[in-house]
């Protein structure tokens, strides 16, 4: 590969890791670094805070909250597959009120920038949850989870069609006081018009990608490995799909901020997402495999950039050479 020699050629003055500026800006939101904890993989933050100070991350995207408590789906909820895992948790959560009284105070007290992932069965429910979060200290953005493959059957995914994606976003926009990111699924024929519709409806940016709908079968029992039958595939197996989606959307909407995710586990993965067009990158399944994963990337990224003479992490964004 020629990336290392060519970027060395571009080096003007030596840069030390301490001089590297990791800050990134997504719409009005300025993050201390581009490393986020992905929704659904970090619980309330306190669990991982046993391993490192979670306040060192750019932001924590909380596990999706809904208006009412959700019991989630039956067990088994998880099946490991080659380079990935399937899950069908079903958005189990205690509801927005209990999140506000139990988890939110801890995050605010610790100064953790919060990106609030919200979900709902109806457009109205998204609005209700967004209303509960209005003007709250510490919440720097809303991520509208309109693409969870484990959402209730019946309605289908809001992110499957431009019109429904736009409807959810515009409804949230009426009450939101912070930037809104629409989390999209790659399980569509063309993701670009859906991102476009979300942006037209007022989304500050998009989060790419949610898990990919998958299935695994136990060959002995002939039963699905997940109680729910199908579930969301995550981990390294889906990274190329995520990079593709980020690149596709950044190519046609270069000014639309993108939070990239899907299999990112290393410094190089984060750089790859940023080169494809992501302004920030959320670490998800990697945290299951290594509770320190996101912190190790925060610590390793300045070295990677300094070694290549790159002073600003943001200069990576969309830097792929086609």
């Amino acid at each position: 590969m020629s990336t290392v020699p060519s970027s060395r050629k571009a080096r003007s003055a030596p840069v030390t890791p301490a001089e590297v500026d990791l800050r990134v800006q997504l719409d009005d939101m300025i993050l201390r670094n581009p490393i986020l904890a992905a929704s659904g993989t970090f619980a309330s933050g306190q669990e991982i805070n046993r391993f490192f100070d979670v306040n060192r991350l750019g932001a924590v995207v909380i596990k999706s909250i809904t208006m009412e408590p959700r019991p989630g789906l039956p067990t088994p909820r998880m099946a490991e597959t080659a380079s990935g895992m399937l899950n069908a948790i079903g958005l189990q959560n205690a509801g927005v009120e209990r999140w506000l009284s139990l988890d939110y105070p801890w995050l605010v007290h610790h100064g953790v920038p919060i990106i609030a992932s919200i979900a709902g069965r109806t457009v109205h429910e998204y609005r209700q949850v967004a209303e509960k979060l209005r003007g709250l200290e510490g919440i720097v953005a809303i991520e509208a989870n309109i693409s969870s493959p484990n959402a209730d059957a019946g309605g289908g995914l809001f992110a499957a069609h431009p019109a429904t994606a736009a409807e959810v976003v515009s409804t949230i926009m009426r009450v939101a006081t912070v930037p809104v990111f629409a989390k999209l699924t790659p399980d569509v024929t063309d993701i670009v018009p859906i991102a476009h519709a979300a942006a037209e409806a007022g989304a500050s940016g998009v989060s790419l990608i949610n898990t990919v709908l998958g299935m695994a079968i136990d060959v002995e029992t002939r039963q699905p490995k997940l109680a729910a039958g199908m579930g969301g595939l995550s981990g390294p197996a889906i990274k190329p799909i995520a990079i593709r989606a980020v690149h596709q959307i950044h190519s046609v909407m270069p000014d639309l901020p993108i939070i990239g995710m899907g299999g990112a586990a290393t410094v190089e993965d984060v750089v790859e997402f940023m080169l494809a067009g992501a302004s920030a990158v959320a670490i998800g399944t990697a945290t299951f495999a290594n509770p320190m994963a996101s912190m190790e990337i925060v610590e390793g990224l300045p070295n990677w950039l300094a070694e290549r003479g790159i002073r600003h992490a943001r200069s990576l964004i969309g830097g792929v050479r086609i």
Binding site: P76, M78, M85, M292
Partner: protein, 301 residues
């Protein structure tokens, strides 16, 4: 009134305690076979210091397309002596992760996170304890038996398996307990029959004030049912598929009753040790109940 007392004290759940889990690359001090099972002893003074019976570690499998860690109950720790600061686990080879682990040799280093989970609570007053285990699920009970012995509690053990090969470390069990009854389904070692019958007879002796159990879920369900019908408090260490082991993924939830309501508790962080009489065994794998597990009421056994 509670008959158990937490072996770890009641601090705030997550912050400011030297009792939390760690992640470290740990050297293999020893690999050995215990009967048909595999055992690895890792060097980690920090984890040994923090470990209690019932807790577990997770291990990262390398060089495969696997992405998730594998959980293992802690079998023994050594905090003192020339080989101090070690943690030992026991496992059976069931898939590619455990096959990889079984091929580790002395001086290899392996990625560990631990100790994780809640330990077995210890008895508050001096009562006879019955420890019931199946297969290598008996391993953490031997660790518990050692702690009970140190503190002067009577521990009787029942260890069962399908056949003689499946019985875990009978010699060690006998050393650590007042009495040890071995049970095999085919009668190839100890009594022929099933654990439940032996346990039933043992309870007739009237010297059991507390029961601890570890092993496959069907055993834990049956043992819990019997304990409940005899009115004897019971704590079980469950085995549920988990992705993270640290409380963030919500895959390993179990329906458990606390203070009259049923909560979906995470086996990795609110467990793996639960009050067996409060686990809703028939609801496992069914649609979860609507109550959500926070704030957690105190276990009220």
């Amino acid at each position: 009134m509670s008959t158990f007392v937490s072996s770890k004290g009641n601090g705030p759940p997550f912050q400011g305690r030297a009792t939390g889990p760690l992640r470290a690359r740990c050297e293999v001090l020893q690999y050995r076979k215990i009967g048909k099972y595999h055992s690895i002893t890792f060097v980690s003074p920090e984890m040994a210091d923090r470990a209690e019976p019932g807790m577990f570690v997770t291990i990262g499998v390398e060089g495969h397309s696997t992405v998730l860690r594998r959980p293992f109950a802690i079998y023994q720790v050594s905090r003192h002596g020339p080989w101090a600061g070690t943690v030992e686990i026991v496992f059976d080879v069931v898939g590619e992760g455990t096959r990889w682990l079984a091929s580790r040799v002395k001086h290899d280093t392996v990625d560990l996170v631990g100790p994780l989970g809640t330990p077995f609570p210890l008895p508050k007053q001096n009562v006879g304890c019955l420890l019931v285990g199946q297969g290598y699920g008996a391993a953490p009970l031997l660790y518990l038996a050692g702690v009970l012995q140190q503190r002067g509690f009577r521990a009787d053990m029942i260890i069962g398996a399908k056949d003689a090969d499946g019985i875990f470390n009978a010699i060690e069990a006998k050393r650590l307990s007042a009495t040890t009854i071995l049970v095999t389904e085919d009668g190839s070692l100890g009594e022929e029959g099933n654990i439940l019958d032996v346990m039933d007879r043992h309870l007739d002796l009237g010297r059991t004030g507390l029961i601890y159990a570890s092993g496959p879920m069907p055993l834990l369900r049956d043992v819990s049912g019997l304990a409940a019908s005899r009115g004897v408090p019971i704590r079980v260490a469950v085995e549920e598929a988990m992705a993270c082991g640290t409380g963030v993924c919500w895959t390993c939830v179990m329906p458990v009753e606390r203070k009259g309501a049923v909560y979906n508790l995470r086996s990795c962080i609110e467990g793996p040790v639960f009050n067996g009489a409060k686990v809703q065994w028939d609801a496992i794998g069914a649609l979860p109940v609507h109550d959500i597990p926070e704030p957690l009421p105190e276990d009220d056994a």
